[in-house]
Symmetry: C2
Subunit: 392 residues, 2 copies
């Protein structure tokens, strides 16, 4: 029996909204290969995105069609309610074939079978896992089709969350709080970075007393010391040292929904200057959160942050957040709205953002983040965790 | 100071071998976007592959050129020995831009600056993270360039491991052994799947008494019960039940080098038929390992497995293994040689494979795997873990 992550009415609404966008753009079919979009439209879940796969939505068919590797068809049966004729597996010899055979040849045949081989077909041209070769093979196989770039079409449908989605994000936030506490508890001089990673990971998967955690789309990041200026380094065997600032960024995950959270800690007694900067980051973050309301633009939220730090003589024009929720490695971001200058997206209720402003200087950085949902009353942060510089 | 994962002579050899292959194909430049290939050629390491990035190798330049997001340039400085002029960061407004701006526009400018904008340029057309859009943007920006598909060019250089690489894979194997034992120890009726995942993950990162573990490219997989036929489902809140077969597939990781290991366990007393099948899998696996020697083809190794199970009336023609080592999510495989019918790759010393034969029936599956290095004496499995069906 399929796992019931959402009821079928929710998937129906998602597909209906996707079809509306397709109609607006005059599209007959959509080939969705972003694993988060595949999940969003069908519930499909599995670590199978290392091979080519996708979901086809056509305007005149109720159900989407899952296309993937034969050994993953049972995964589609287990995690979706798609009927058997909507599960189209390709044989294993398509996988990393040394011969002139590619999974997209099979996808092309499916599109032909669905009668859209000479139609207007949307492709997620810049989505993870939709490679250049995927595109050229579809072009070669479907000379009559007219392809459109629909990279963010489904992502834009995802931007407003349902109550059921928000419930999972709140569950993820509980996990994030527990994991952050575990990280802060373990970090001290002499502890290797991997032990902090272990403490955090352990809680991310153990979850809470009531439920476990899913794997996050991004591993816990905790740049320390000199490396607070290198945000995407992962842990090593290095031991934390007295005088290290450490930035912890992590996310709990439930049914692929995330609630990222970041805090900065300091090994030993923090220099006054660091504490002062941390206070500025907190103040700027709170100004940004206070600016959130339905009808406000994304860039206005960033401006509230920027104006606040400007009072302290700091000039900075960065992206300080982005829309997010459902995700697979390598990212939990939705790649749609960003809290940055020039982004005029208007906030609406039930949008969710991860806002992660930071200040980096030559010597060290301070970062702080919240995941929030836009409500009629403003920003509701999903996690409840003190906003300050921590010390070991 | 950069982390010293390998000495500079090793990187020099890798680049020299890559340039030989480029020369054979008449290529002036190579744009490498597979994160494993980027790491292989420069040492670059970081969770930054969720944005566009790459390494450019040209025939007449000693050093490769790293191209990535500005906030990751410090990561390139921290993990490579590239000179400052070989680190080319693009500004943050290229990232998920709502305007007509794409990181590949910057890559095109770098190729121009390197004087290869009208040359023969190799692109990894089917590599993870090299999207269709990346390709069309390069095409648009570099109308004079002639592009060639070089998807596996660097991967093929990677296939034979150096002693230093094998050392890391052996270290990863120690972690795999510990993690497998932790998983087997915790699984029993009433334990939720996520608790087993937590026990395994905890050891994967805690590593051994001597060193920690890196994040594996694939999360621990442990399909159980009915789901042993759905190999890529990840853990849930479900509790293991008496009568469940559970397949555990995991890998320790050191400096991005893996040594995957899989075993099957049974919750309660296994039915005789399952034990019998497990014995067949072990016998078939050992026949395959015995067939390994320099000079033997990949398909001959698979045939040894197939002939063995055929003696028990089982007919199956599958890929039972693949070349692997260095990797980033979503995969630790190299996508070059496969142990399957039709693959005539000839085994050479220091090649490394993960062989994972399995038997699936309507009711349940049995799987067993080893990571081995090809030596003059045959296959040397990297892990030392009993080959049998386990019980709780």
């Amino acid at each position: 029996m399929p796992r019931a992550v959402f009821d079928s009415a929710e998937y129906d609404r998602r597909i209906a909204r996707t079809k509306e966008r397709m109609a607006e753009r005059g599209l007959d079919a959509l080939f969705v290969s972003d694993p988060a979009n595949m999940n969003y439209l069908t519930g499909y879940d599995g670590w199978s995105f290392y091979v080519h796969q996708g979901v086809v939505v056509t305007r005149d068919r109720d159900e989407p069609v899952w296309v993937g590797r034969d050994m993953d068809a049972n995964g589609a049966r287990a995690t979706t309610t798609l009927s058997e004729e909507s599960i189209r597996p390709y044989s294993d010899d398509h996988v990393q074939s040394p011969h002139d055979l590619h999974p997209m040849d099979f996808v092309a045949a499916v599109l032909e079978d669905l009668g859209v081989d000479d139609a207007r077909v949307g492709l997620e041209m810049d989505a993870y896992y939709f490679t250049a070769k995927s595109y050229t093979r579809l072009q070669k196989n479907l000379a009559e089709a007219s392809f459109e770039d629909t990279t963010l079409l489904v992502n834009r449908v995802r931007i407003k969350k349902s109550d059921a989605e928000l419930d999972y994000m709140r569950e993820a936030a509980r996990i994030s709080e527990n994991a952050m506490q575990a990280g802060l508890d373990v970090i001290e001089a002499g502890v290797p970075e991997y032990e902090a990673a272990e403490a955090i990971y352990s809680v991310l998967i153990e979850g809470t007393d009531d439920y476990g955690g899913d794997y996050p789309s991004i591993v816990p990041l905790m740049p320390s010391g000199d490396h607070t200026g290198t945000p995407h380094l992962t842990w090593t065997d290095r031991e934390f040292e007295d005088g290290d600032p450490v930035i912890i960024e992590l996310s709990g995950c439930r049914h692929r929904y995330h609630s990222p959270l970041a805090r900065t800690t300091f090994v030993g007694d923090p220099p006054e200057e660091l504490s002062r900067r941390a206070d500025i980051v907190v103040e700027g973050m709170e100004a940004a959160l206070d600016a959130v309301a339905p009808g406000v633009t994304c860039e206005a939220v960033e401006k509230a942050w920027r104006d606040t730090i400007a009072q302290y003589g700091i000039e900075k024009k960065d992206r300080i957040g982005y829309s997010m929720g459902l995700g697979y490695p390598p990212d939990w971001g939705e790649h749609t709205a960003s809290l940055r200058p020039g982004d005029e997206t208007v906030l609406e209720e039930n949008m969710t953002f991860h806002t992660i402003p930071g200040l980096w200087f030559d010597d060290f950085g301070v970062e702080l983040s919240e995941t929030f949902v836009v409500t009629s009353d403003g920003a509701e942060p999903l996690a409840d965790f003190p906003r300050r510089l921590f010390t070991t």
